[in-house]
Amino acid sequence: MNTTLPVCAGIGLRHPHYRQVLEQLPPLGWLELHSENFFAGGQPLAMLQTLAAHYPLSLHGVGLGLGSAARPDRDHLAALRRLLQAVPAAAVSEHLAYNHAAGGHYANDLLPLPYTRDLLDCVAANVAEAQDAIGRPLLLENLSAYLQFPDNDMSEAEFLAELVARTGCGILLDVNNLYVNQQNLGTDVAAYLAALPAEAIGEIHLAGYSTRQFDDGSHLLVDTHSQPVHPPVWTLYQQVLARFGPRPTLIEWDIDLPPLDTLQAEAARAQRLLQDCQP
């Protein structure tokens, strides 16, 4: 299996809640934190080691850009390897995203990539290189996107399935991202779910999007992680659970953070749906 996370709901832990969680150690199924915030030593690493003594941890990277044609940054991989040697992690994940061009110019965002056969060769090599560097499989997360390459050979789901087959990686299925892409890009959700290999799904993300209106009257759903999970995303989550069975599920909230108990209430809702679908 590509993770040892418990099959229950967890939350993304962000800076404003560090102190409260460390002091009160509230009941939380598991925690996910961004790997890059702990690449150094000192206070951040010491805190992560304390958390690891109390909760299963998932370390979620945002900076490798494995969906780039260019190779991943060797220093970044070395820092991730050191982190995983210092902290026991139940899961390690990254995004199937583009973020840098050859020559080392970065966007520091999760950008879409062409789902073409030739890029698949590059990306599979990138994923293999990253997994070799850290000595364990990665979960790769599907993207939210606002535009797409016009001449794709396959869907994102088919691309992910190919990466699973070629590299042994797992999949982190972000249900909010899938919904956002359905609304923004017309992604066929049923075909998408059918194309994913069920046994590779190691984790699920839930989050809230925002709606951005433009002067020409059009709008886009933007994956802001700044809201409660929206009703259609809960509905899609149930569809996902029915297809794949229960999976470790994360409530992800990154900006305009509410009190911790709001995150716990969202996690409790996911937990009820997980229990309802136990076989």
Binding site: G42, H76, L119, P150
Partner: protein
């Protein structure tokens, strides 16, 4: 390059360069979202790394400064914590900041604090080990500093400016004529600390930081002030934990 890699390169250029005219196939609304994410993400990172500059300039002016900086300065790392290393130099050449000549050094201080906080751990040099070194060889010793430690030379009262703007800092009168070079280090619980140095101690610490021997550093300090207190300066370095390793003469 294949069509796919061309498309990736074009997308990155379109997002990071606001002057770039989007090619057909990059819808304007989607590009606007990505351009906004890029600009705001880097500007927020700078606001986190440079809180003192932001206080000194006011948030509106600071946002104007960092918007210009982001436009001129591509990101070179997938790790956002690496972005903003050159803001001090940018401020030094940014005409609207000319009235605050100490601002570039305040930015250098903040970048050193930021890098120190995110630096790797390393063992502290134990002063007791010095006892094992024959006193005749002390002059030839060279020290390695903690990755988190640095020596910052400045003609401005950086320690006083820093203290003035801390929530619980000391609000003494800041004498703008007083130079305050600094020793920066991370204490045993991981907080960054700064200690103001006089000119001789600064020359001493800086020489050691640059890899010179204890003798050479002492000579540099005495050139600044014949009354240089070697023992006090060495104890400061040892007790602060700024030193990590020692290299004995071979």
């Amino acid at each position: 390059m294949t069509t796919a890699t061309h498309w990736q390169a074009d997308l990155l250029a379109a997002i990071t360069d606001p002057q770039w005219q989007p090619a057909p196939g990059f819808p304007a609304a989607a590009l606007a979202v990505y351009r906004n994410n890029y600009r705001v993400g880097l500007m927020e990172m700078l606001a986190l790394a440079y809180p003192l500059c932001r206080q000194l300039l006011g948030s509106e002016f600071f946002d104007g400064l960092t918007r210009e900086y982001v436009r001129a300065t591509p990101s070179r790392s997938g790790n956002l914590h690496h972005y903003g290393a050159t803001l001090a130099d940018f401020i030094a050449g940014f005409a609207p900041c000319a009235e605050l000549p100490y601002l570039p050094d305040v930015a250098r201080l903040e970048w050193a604090l930021h890098c120190g906080y995110y630096a790797p751990d390393a063992p502290r040099y134990d002063a007791a080990n010095l006892a094992a070194v024959p006193p005749a060889s002390w002059g030839q010793l060279r020290f390695g500093f903690q990755p988190a430690a640095t020596v910052l030379l400045s003609r401005w009262p950086l320690a006083a400016i820093h203290a003035w703007h801390q929530p619980d800092g000391e609000h003494t009168v800041v004498d703008m004529q007083q130079a305050q070079p600094l020793l920066l280090y991370r204490d045993h619980v991981g907080r960054m600390q700064l200690t103001a140095l006089d000119s001789a101690a600064a020359a001493f610490c800086h020489a050691l930081y640059c890899g010179n021997t204890l003798d050479e550093a002492t000579t540099a300090a005495l050139a600044q002030d014949a009354g240089f207190d070697l023992q006090a300066a060495l104890l400061l370095l040892l007790h602060s934990g700024a030193l990590s390793t020692v290299k004995e003469p071979s």
